[in-house]
Amino acid sequence: MSSWIKKSAAELADALAAGEVTSVELTQAHLDRIAAVDGDADSGVHAFLHVDAEGALAQAKASDERRAAGIPASRLDGVPIAVKDILTTIGTPTTAGSKILEGWIPPYDATVVKKLKDAGLPILGKTNMDEFAMGSSTEQSAFGPTRNPWDQSRIPGGSGGGSAAAVAAFEAPLAIGTDTGGSIRQPGAVTGTVGVKPTYGGVSRYGLIAMANSLDQVGPVTRTVLDSALLHEVIGGHDPLDSTSIDAPVGDLADAARHGAGGDLTGVRVGVITELGGEGYQAGVLAKFNESLELLRSAGAEVVEVSCPHFVHALATYYLLMPSEASSNLAKFDAMRFGLRVVPDGDPSAEDVMRASRDAGFGDEVKRRIILGTYALSSGYYDAYYGQAQKVRTLITQDFDKAFESVDVLVSPTSPTTAFKLGEKTDDPLAMYLNDLATIPANLAGVPGISLPNGLAEEDGLPSGFQILAPVTEDARLYRVGAALEALLEKNWGGPILDRLPELEGVQA
């Protein structure tokens, strides 16, 4: 195993700049690691749905040529990356984890993918996910689950379990995720990695296969807070192709992370959200959370409790708004212009073909949400469900506004539990939904959030996550406070948490 794969992206960028390693060497080292541990649907980590060795090596070669000519495209030029299979990529398959898109090769790049290519990051491949990002375990992928590198009998979180597991298993130094209700942060928490959901509108959604447009956001998946900041700077910023994109510069996030890593939080006011803790949260997760609060206090932060009374309704609000938007978005999979077409016997009409194709192409959870959304939007129920949820969304946003009048950041455990066993909750939708209890409010209000690893729970030795939330467009605060906590934790641990990842067994090629 090459020693390069355990380095952070920032370290790799420095090594590339110093001429200590080439992008081709780095890219090959990660491709070798993928070949050794990723396996397939039946064994191994299975973080990838598609590996593009040839394309990645060609991009790496071009990067090395730019370095040699003294014209690197960006600081991260040459550092390889994995991309969640929900962002379109010219020439490589994009499935969103669904049978209905199996084999689809998009004719255009998502803006985020274009930015990665322009910045010179070789794309190793596309990562596994719950179908159309609907899930918290990656078990709803039509192509088989991803397994948690900490314990391969357990879930890696979801929907972006592939991206989080790829980074945790040292198959990629960086990855891209998307977060509609926690799909970047919750996988981060259960795999001991860092994940950031930027402010809504902070990163372009053009080329992101939409689940719920008003909630979806693209963001970084990494092993360190600084790496997330560096990647966020690459992918963030205004995009005229996304009308909800914020027309303002992304800001100097890496600077905020470097500042924070000094470990001084004097004068920073941290609010602990009363409603996101206590009952339903695993004891070991709460214990780690309280230890992290102590560290923040020791760094000079003022830690107070803040109540956000409407957060108890966030899950219900989300499970009306999200399916409503999803049922409308997924109407485009109609077997006419792209995607799976199933033709029943006889002389079927376009509508018959549509029904048969959608039944064969969509998995259980997608069907559940389409039907739930269709119900919430139907006349007679619209006001009681969809309309009422939109109003409660306003109340949740107002809770955030009020809380941020008295504190700079809000904090909670990211996920109520550590990684659970594969299969444990697949047929109990409500139990699965509860995993996103603490992450959903941020999506409803559009505020940015980060999850970083804050220890291993005592009862099972599995990673837990610490969530930090900041006001809209104040993403820099996540990086300052996150990097400070990370530095304090690593000082106590004597190194990164992933140093304690069990050795992964090789899989048969």
Binding site: F338, R341, R355, K367, R368, I370, T374, Y433
Partner: protein
């Protein structure tokens, strides 16, 4: 809020253009009832005077310059089509016998 019946699920699946088998209907209907029951608490939140939020950020009227931009070629647009003919998407018949 009312419980959702198997017939209602069948009707909704019809509206959503998904052919659900009997087994799927048996499986989905009770699950959907449980989910709906869990969201019922929202109706008790007092919010008569609260304006609805449809989007996280209050953006209105985003315009762009009316300039020609390159788009997909017909070949690119049709590349993933299940069937095409004469630079067009080919679809099954749209009308039934009774229409």
């Amino acid at each position: 809020m009312p419980e959702i019946t198997r017939d209602e699920v069948a009707h909704l699946a019809d509206l959503a253009r998904i052919d659900l088998s009997d087994a799927e209907l048996d499986h989905l209907a009770p699950q959907l009832s449980v989910i709906l029951e869990s969201v019922a608490s929202l109706s008790e939140v007092t919010s008569a005077d609260v304006p609805p939020t449809s989007h996280a950020l209050p953006l209105t009227n985003v315009f762009r310059e009316d300039v020609v931009r390159p788009g997909l070629t017909a070949e690119q647009a049709l590349a993933a089509a299940p069937a095409s003919e004469q630079q067009r998407f080919m679809v099954p018949r749209i009308l039934g016998d009774e229409q």
